[in-house]
């Protein structure tokens, strides 16, 4: 019986933001199998978010990155990845409901709004806060989680997730149905156990 190909395979990843500048990430290698998980940890500037962005095809890179047997950024691949960005500014003044609806519509190829309310429910954002444009940090983290889980994608990419019960449940559920989970945080908490594998990054290099 042949082993299934990894959901995420990274080899020799190097990301340089400015030509001639120091690399943000260099020589990074890892794999995440379907149903598996990996936590990227490390201090500020270690390159955690950069690695996630490379996997999502959001930054130019050298090396090999394969996601679901495709290239990062390809249309078909992007639709099968659920991404929860870091911070709270990603909503850019939109309501939680509008953001998650659009993300769900983009991911499902036009079946607009499908799964958005369900995703917000699973992320634990109360209905009274879903039509609000200015949310606090905790609520924004829940919206990011809702963006990631909407449509039950085959890969979850979580940047700086907070350890809510809903986050834990979402990761367990995703792995349980065979989805790979890649997360990055500087506060590991219970995530190493939840994800099963940890990779610590140092600035400019993998350790």
């Amino acid at each position: 019986m042949t082993e299934p190909s990894p959901a995420i395979a990274v080899e020799g990843l190097e990301v340089v933001y400015q030509r001639g500048g120091e690399p943000a990430v260099v020589g990074l290698c890892f794999q995440v199998p379907p149903g598996g998980g990996l936590l990227l940890t490390g201090g500020e500037g270690a390159g955690k978010t950069t690695v996630l962005r490379a996997v999502l095809g959001l930054v130019p890179f050298t090396g090999t990155v394969a996601v679901l047997d495709g290239r990062p950024g390809d249309d078909d691949v992007a639709r099968r990845i659920g991404y929860g960005p870091q911070g709270r500014r990603f909503m850019e003044g939109h309501t939680a409901r509008d953001v998650v609806r659009l993300v769900a519509a983009l991911r499902t190829g036009g079946r607009a709004h499908e799964g958005a309310e369900d995703a917000l429910e699973r992320a634990g954002l109360p209905p009274s806060r879903r039509g609000v444009r200015v949310l606090d940090v905790e609520e924004s983290r829940r919206v990011a989680l809702a963006c990631a889980v909407a449509g039950d994608p085959d890969v979850l990419v979580l940047d700086d997730p907070w350890e809510h019960p809903e986050t834990v449940e979402a990761i367990r559920a995703a792995r349980g149905r065979g989805a790979a989970v890649l997360a990055a945080t500087h506060l590991a908490g219970g995530f190493p156990e939840l994800l099963g594998a940890t990779l610590e990054l140092a600035p400019g290099a993998a350790s």
Binding site: Y17, R53, L56, G57, L58, V59, P60, G73, D75, A78, R79, I81, Y83, P85, Q86, G87, R89, F90, M91, E92, G93, H94, D98, V99, L102, V103, A105, L106, R107, G109, G110, A112, R133, C147, V157
Partner: protein, 276 residues
């Protein structure tokens, strides 16, 4: 593909139309209209129209520039830094689609701002007993094209630089677009001698400000107010010589529209390899 672009455009347009700073800017602009009307009413009948239109031109220039620069300078860089654009692209939206949606949304916001002010100005004109002001409406349309170039220049810059630099570039384009038109008028009269050729080259290459018949008429009569002062050149032995300007020709309207398309395309190009 089209459905996605429609979804994205609707999302981005509504997002910018609901912004607090944008709504406040429209409200402040509209609030200047009664002041303009009261000021105009205090003039003798012959100067009432000029006074009101000069105030309207100031609103279009100052308010319009603030709107165009703010909308353009935040097109890509702020959305990129906040993770907003990354979220959309990671969800399967194409970079070109996202850029087009952002540009269309911002252009729509500029149109709405100018339309709101134009409506307020027409109401003010009616309140002064002058009825609806057709030349003023044409001036708003001309301003829209000039401001769109400024907005798109700032937007194209925002793909590679921060908002402050994008604002500066937008301002430079605004000043340049006016300067080439003014210098061309002077060159046509042979007033800048050896520089005539350079003025001609700049006029043929640069985006141009689109002057409306209304503003040119007021400017040439020295009634344009601070937004459109009379254009004069210092000449040896002759002092300040007024240079008559002409309203934008169809060629200038089309040339500036071409520049809008070019800057939008540069914006799409800049977005293609930008880290998000």
């Amino acid at each position: 593909m089209t459905g996605r672009l429609v979804d994205l455009t609707r999302f981005e347009t509504l997002g910018i139309l609901r912004r607090r700073w944008y709504l406040i800017l429209i409200a402040i602009g509209a609030l200047t209209v009664p002041i303009a009307a009261i000021t105009a009413a205090s003039h003798v009948a012959a100067l009432e129209a000029d006074s009101y239109r000069a105030s309207a031109a100031s609103l279009m220039l100052i308010g319009g520039l603030i709107a165009a620069l703010a909308l353009g300078a935040t097109t890509i860089s702020t959305g990129g830094a906040s993770g907003h654009l990354g979220l959309l692209v990671a969800a399967g939206a194409g970079r070109t689609q996202v850029t087009v949606a952002r540009l269309v949304g911002r252009f729509a916001a500029l149109v709405v701002a100018l339309a709101a002010w134009c409506l307020a100005l027409q109401a003010g004109s009616a309140a002064l007993g002058r009825g609806l002001d057709g030349p003023l409406a044409v001036h708003v349309a001309a301003s829209l094209e000039s401001l769109t170039v400024v907005m798109l220049a700032a937007a194209a810059t925002s793909t590679v630089m921060g908002p402050a630099v994008a604002v500066v570039v937008g301002l430079i384009v605004h000043v340049t677009a006016q300067a080439v038109v003014n210098l061309q008028a002077a060159a046509n009269l042979g007033f800048i001698r050896t520089w005539d050729r350079l003025a001609q080259v700049a006029y043929n290459l640069s985006p141009r400000a689109v002057y409306s018949p209304m503003i040119v008429d007021m400017q040439n009569r020295g009634q344009g107010g601070p937004a459109a002062p009379r254009f004069e050149l210092n000449q040896v032995n002759r002092g300040k010589v007024p240079i008559p300007l002409e309203a934008a020709s169809l060629g200038t309207v089309l040339w500036t529209a071409f520049w809008c398309a070019l800057l939008a395309w540069l914006c799409v190009l800049g977005m293609r390899r930008r880290p998000l």
